[in-house]
Structures are given as C-alpha cells and as structure tokens.
Symmetry: C2
Subunit: 180 residues, 2 copies
Amino acid sequence: MTEDGAAPAGAAAAAPPMPRLTGVLAPRERWQANACSLAKAIDVVSTRSAFLLIREAFYGTTRFDDFAERAGISEPVCAARLRELVGEGLLAREQYQEPGQRARPAYRLTEKGAGLFPALAALMQWGDRWLAEDGGPVKFRHRECGEPVEVELRCAAGHHTEPGDLDLVRPDRSGSRPAR
Amino acid sequence: MTEDGAAPAGAAAAAPPMPRLTGVLAPRERWQANACSLAKAIDVVSTRSAFLLIREAFYGTTRFDDFAERAGISEPVCAARLRELVGEGLLAREQYQEPGQRARPAYRLTEKGAGLFPALAALMQWGDRWLAEDGGPVKFRHRECGEPVEVELRCAAGHHTEPGDLDLVRPDRSGSRPAR
DNA sequence: CGACTGACTTAGGGCAACGCAAGTCAGGTA
DNA sequence: TACCTGACTTGCGTTGCCCTAAGTCAGTCG
C-alpha cells in the first residue's frame, strides 16, 4: 500500500523506531561514516564465498575439498579465499596427520574468526524469519536447557533493548586523532 | 594479544569451542547446507553497496543524493541498489513534501529491513574489536541507563550463552519436505 | 520564462569474482 | 614402480559490480 508497482509483499507498514543520533553526530549532514567498523568488517567478509567458508568452519569443516564442495564453490576460489582468510587471521592453517595418512592441512577458526559467530547467527536468524518459508532448516539450542537461542541487544546493565531504545554516540577519545 | 598485524602469528592459540552438531546433522559428511538461511540472507545483502545503504538508512538518511554521497557510491549504483532494496521489501519508497518544495521520494526501512539491525550491529561490534585500532568511531548506548549495548546470544530461558554452549539441531517439521 | 535543484538514466569501460577444464605435485598404497 | 588421492595451481572466458561523464526531466524560484 505504500505505493509502487512490483508489490513488495508483506513488509512495509509503519517505520520502525531507529537509534537516535546524539552530540556531534546529531546533525547527520555534518559527518560521514567512512571510518565505520561495519564497512571494515564488510571489506573482510565481502564476498559470498568468504561468508560461506566461514559458515562451513562453524559447521566443523576443516579440509580443503570439503570446504569447496559444501560451500558449493569451485576449487580455485576456495583456495584463494582460504588463503585470504588465513592471511587476515580468521582461519588458522594447521598440519594434522591421521594414522596411515600423510600430513594434510586443516583450517580452523581463530578467536578472531570465531568472533563473527554472533553476526552470522544474527544474519541466519533474519533469513529464517524473512526469507525461509518454513522458519529455516537448522536452529541453535542451548545445550543445558534445550531452549532456542536468539541474538539480542543488551546493555551492560543487563536490560534487553530494541533499536529505538538506543543512542548513537561518539565515544570520548580525548587523546587521539580528531576522528572525522 | 592474539592480535596480529600482517603476520598470522605462529600458533593461533587454542581453537575456540563451536556449536555441537546433533541428530541427523551430526555426521557432517551426510548433509549440505544449501537451504541455509544465511546464504539466502547473503544473497539479499550481497554487495558492499547494499550493506552501506542499509547502514545509512539506520543512520537516518532518506534522500537519494544523501545515500549516494554518504555511502560513498556513485549515483547509478545507488539508484540500482535502492530499487533492488525496495523490491525486496527492505526499504519503502514514500513520497514526502516539504513546504515550498516539490514532492520527493524518501527511502525508509521497513520492518524487514529494520530486522537486520542486530546483524549489522554484530558486524560493527566485531569490526570495532578486531579491525579498528581505537575501538571504533561510534557506539550504541542504552538511552535510559547510558550503558553501552552489545549483541549477545541468549536462550529463551534467559541464559547468556557462548557458541560452545550450543547444539545445532534440525527442527522437527514432520509435515513437510524431507528437508535439504 | 529561464535558471536551478534533485532524482534519476544512459553510455562506455575497468576490474574482480567466479566457474570449468586441465594440469601439478607430494605422500602413501599395491 | 605404477597408481591413486588430496591439495592445490594455471588458463580462459563470463558475469556482475562499480565508476566517470554526460544527459533527462519535473517542479520551483526569481
């Protein structure tokens, strides 16, 4: 009903509340988000193949051929991407040897790579909600209590928050570059 | 301290604990994640420009020229991407009219688009932690209590969880396709 | 009525991501 | 020694993202 042809289906309705800009950030015309950590993060996992390889690593894949096949990408890209991810420190390349086998490399998530878990989980959750007709093929559960797990926003005081409850602030960093 | 600059640094430390695969998912060789909601989500926000436009929408940008300039992309891509995002129902194109101005379109996040907030926040948080030398240029705070906000994994029973505390399960969907 | 602004479109070209097909190379097995 | 497997590499063509430069077009202001 908003208008437009193509029928965007569902969605639309009232605009959801978003974070409020504060301080020097309030006049949105006065700054550009070019030092944005989000942009940097996107540069690291910019390609679809990188994303899928990280996903596979979360699912426990460690070997070259398995990565290529399970992520559904060709071997050349797989090799290139694995090399990049190792270079960026998201994956570590280790040698391992099964008895009666020669030594082969295993790719494992580093702490840095594993730190992407909430982001991937959030993206998966969004896909489950908005793109999968049946809620999605896999879910995460808390092992101890069996309850489903969700990504949420929570402040250091422990309050559950929604985007509309947030302020966007520029942290005080008196000692350093004037930011920009 | 795990850190690193360019050097992948020797050991890479111990591999962080990851979710455990359960049930039919346990033998990893037996399934492929091709219905994955994550892959679907990536297809929707696959390009850097789409990501940046969504980010700008979260920062309150609504006008065409502002999107192009603030996201740092050219007008042709901006036009193409906005059209796609509207078509996918992440943004809504509304007409608005300031007094003494002609009617112009405003692009606003729909509920579906706004649902990406946790994912973007998680990615930004990861970038702050691992890619920005100073912790990143902007932060979210809970307006009521002023505390910083973080993305976290929490189960329906309210427990804070880590990736290693999770089981990956295939939800019981007796009535439908055999999955995969 | 002519200039101007804002929201685009069109044309043309570069580069990066990707797939396919076909090697290469080292270690282990027969 | 010959063969095989696993982990890659090389070559080549395609597609898609993106940029610059140059329009177009509608409504407003002077």
